[in-house]
Subunit: 442 residues, 2 copies
């Protein structure tokens, strides 16, 4: 009895037609990350459950526990790469110099309700600088995002930068109990969906906001600066009564100067006071990147500063800042925007196999062409004749076909067919690689 | 309360010092695989449990089941990449042309008893050709192994090739019930450990082997050919009474001629009749690669032909052949043999940060050097002075240090220190990238 081939809900295969371009995308990201001096780290997909959750029951719903038939090893699948970074920094204090600039790419798993565009297994690609409290590290993340997005071929994107300290300054600015900050931020988060009328009503009802307090909040929400530095100056004026917000603005001011020095064009990033990036977790600057052509796809490259990263695993405070590429979202966006070609195979050269007396010669040819660095395949399908084998090359979109049979051997030549031009010609054996190179670069 | 940072049993972290060279190893393998026209595939780490086990209870002990708190989705972690290949071939018949030459690299998980050098999570790197019954595909795998091992820097290795059809010919050759083949092979497998005396005794006792039968088996086990083709001819003579073995020898003969044509030196591979590669599964040629410097490490790159691959998922027989790199074993071997350098960071250039009035200039410099493709880091640690920052460069083994402070700015130069030669000199701003290139290639 055969088993029906299928995937579990929320899981996805990447066939070569997608995986070839996905691989190129990974290479591009890696290349940019390394140019900024981030080094690769790898950690297991399986972690001790307590390490992952930190005892927080909220994570219990989300994680996949991993169980052997004979016993429970207390392991679960990681849901992000950040927890492992914190663990590693705490676990190997002598092997890791600080600042520790690392990137990591890997699969993560979340038991979310499967729905369109949301997967239960997906790839994260993170870069973080651990052990630097200076804004220079945060500015570098903004530049890293810009260089990565540009290298991937995106032209229309915007990185929104904010500072959690500005949001944390709201109690001082407006005058309310700091313990209510999370609640107030939650209301602000719903602004776009529910509108000011509803939000202000709720704030008055539930948190007892006065008309004056609501006016201050409205002024904050309505605030729009001009360019980056103008925005920072505006915040400084608006929230002058909040030391926390002023500290946040000062940090942003520093970031502005470094980001400019790092060559990020001013239309590719902005300071946006509405960006919060979740409620706990971040402690300073936060980053969020959207595609202005495809806003519905959400944030594709986000992060921020989280200065209590390691404290779960060691009684120390180690500052850290970084960001994570939403690889699967970004890949979907690249496909929608036509930034990825479709290639069915990596093969550049197909050597036909239609004359079995020449098969050894064909293998010799293949070996020589591969030595020259070209991706070369000998035809191994069921078609026996040249025509059928050529059809395979066309279907697989292989640019060059090599024809070598008894005739060619007799004349000491190799037949080359270029599928783009449909031209076919013979070249001497020793000139095959040269000719291939000419065709491929043309 | 802090949580002790730790890993589960049989799991491993790869810090940058290991991961940088590991990454290079992956790139090298990928590059060789692609040159042979294998295209990348990716499938989820989580699969439906029934897909993985095929109902075979033997796998039940080995697999990690993945469970959400609220309900059992019937998922488990893959233990190899081959099952997913079979599933993919059966699941997307219209999207996949045959022969389907794919490679896949990914983590797999096995609930084995943790012990030295055996991990519960490790990386497999497979190349397989699906849909080609011809020996040309198998010969290519032998060449693929050779090219990969060579590209990784190995000089002393040997790929042992056999054909399961020769082993399956033993009942005909010796004269015993073919149903006992597995049992007989199990005895042969123990030869090295237990010696002929014990094995022959057991075969006589348990399977009733006669003296004549034992003599035939002994002749088989003692058989040694000269070069590859001599070995094939010897087998043909020895086992002439077994049509199955003769078919196996004929296939090996074909492989010999193609492998030679593919340029694999004859001292890098051999035909070894003792290689079985497990008991079920393989149906034709099998491959096993050992490091002659480190035989104890076992097989590092193995595989074979498995012509009933897809039958679990579809009522068809699709031939397939391929091999899998034991990445973690091979990496351990490379470390032991000194084939991997140790690099603590990818960074090539460290820009010091000792004069805060020049920080923006340093970021501008960093941006310009990165644009030229060099991996560049601005110092972000706690040391404020040049000396302490230089010590960081030495510790991290960063080859070039850039010094840019007030003096340099005044004179429109950049200080460059080459750590290998300990020489330091000033160069004009516009010549920085040129000078860096000179130092790095020297």
């Amino acid at each position: 009895m055969t088993i029906q081939p299928r995937l579990g809900a929320g899981l996805k295969d990447y066939l070569p037609s997608e995986m070839i371009v996905r691989q190129q995308m990974f290479d591009t990201i890696r290349n940019v990350f390394e140019r900024f001096g981030f080094s690769p780290l790898d950690t297991p997909g399986l972690e001790v459950e307590e390490i992952l959750t930190g005892g927080d029951p909220d994570f219990n719903k989300m994680i996949f526990r991993a169980r052997l038939r004979d016993g429970d090893e207390g392991l679960a699948l990681r849901f992000d790469l950040t927890v492992a970074l914190a663990r590693v920094v705490a676990q190997y204090p002598n092997d890791i110099s600080k600042p520790f600039k690392r990137y990591q790419v890997g699969k993560v798993w979340r038991g979310e309700r499967p729905q369109a565009g949301r997967f239960r297994e997906f790839v994260q690609f993170d870069a973080d600088t651990v052990g630097c409290a200076e804004m220079t590290a945060d500015a570098e993340i903004v530049a890293l995002i810009y260089e990565t997005m540009t290298a991937l071929g995106f032209q229309n994107f915007l990185t929104k930068v904010n500072n959690r300290k500005i949001l944390n300054g709201l109690p001082e600015y407006i005058g309310f109990d700091p313990d209510k900050t999370t609640e107030v931020l939650r209301f602000i988060d719903k602004m776009e969906k529910l509108g000011w009328e509803n939000i202000s009503g709720e704030l008055a009802d539930k948190l007892g906001f006065t008309t004056e307090q609501l006016a201050l909040l409205k002024a904050f929400l309505d605030f729009r600066g001009g360019d980056q530095i103008d925005t920072v100056n505006g915040v400084k004026k608006l929230m002058a009564n909040s030391p926390t917000a002023m500290e946040g603005a000062r940090e942003l001011e520093e970031i502005v100067s470094y980001v400019q020095a790092l060559g990020v064009p001013s239309d590719k990033w902005t300071i946006d006071l509405s960006v919060a990036r979740g409620l706990g977790y971040y402690t300073g600057p936060v980053f969020e990147t959207v595609l202005t052509d495809l806003p519905s796809i959400g944030s594709v490259f986000s992060g921020g500063r989280f200065d209590d990263l390691v404290s779960r695993f060691a009684p120390v405070n180690i500052p850290a800042t970084g960001a994570s590429v939403g690889v699967d979202r970004l890949f979907a966006a690249m496909q929608k925007l036509g930034l990825t070609g479709t290639r069915r195979t990596v093969t550049q050269i197909l050597i036909l196999d239609f004359d079995s007396s020449c098969r050894e010669d064909c293998h010799r040819l293949a070996s020589s062409i591969r030595q020259a660095g070209f991706r070369t395949e000998i035809y191994m399908g069921k078609e026996k004749g040249i025509k059928g084998q050529l059809a395979y090359a066309v279907r697989e979109d292989i640019p060059i076909v090599i024809i070598f049979g008894g005739n060619e051997r007799e004349n000491n030549v190799v037949g080359i067919k270029c599928l783009a031009t449909r031209r076919q010609f013979d070249v001497p054996l020793l000139e095959v690689n040269k000719k291939i190179k000419e065709i491929l670069v043309s």
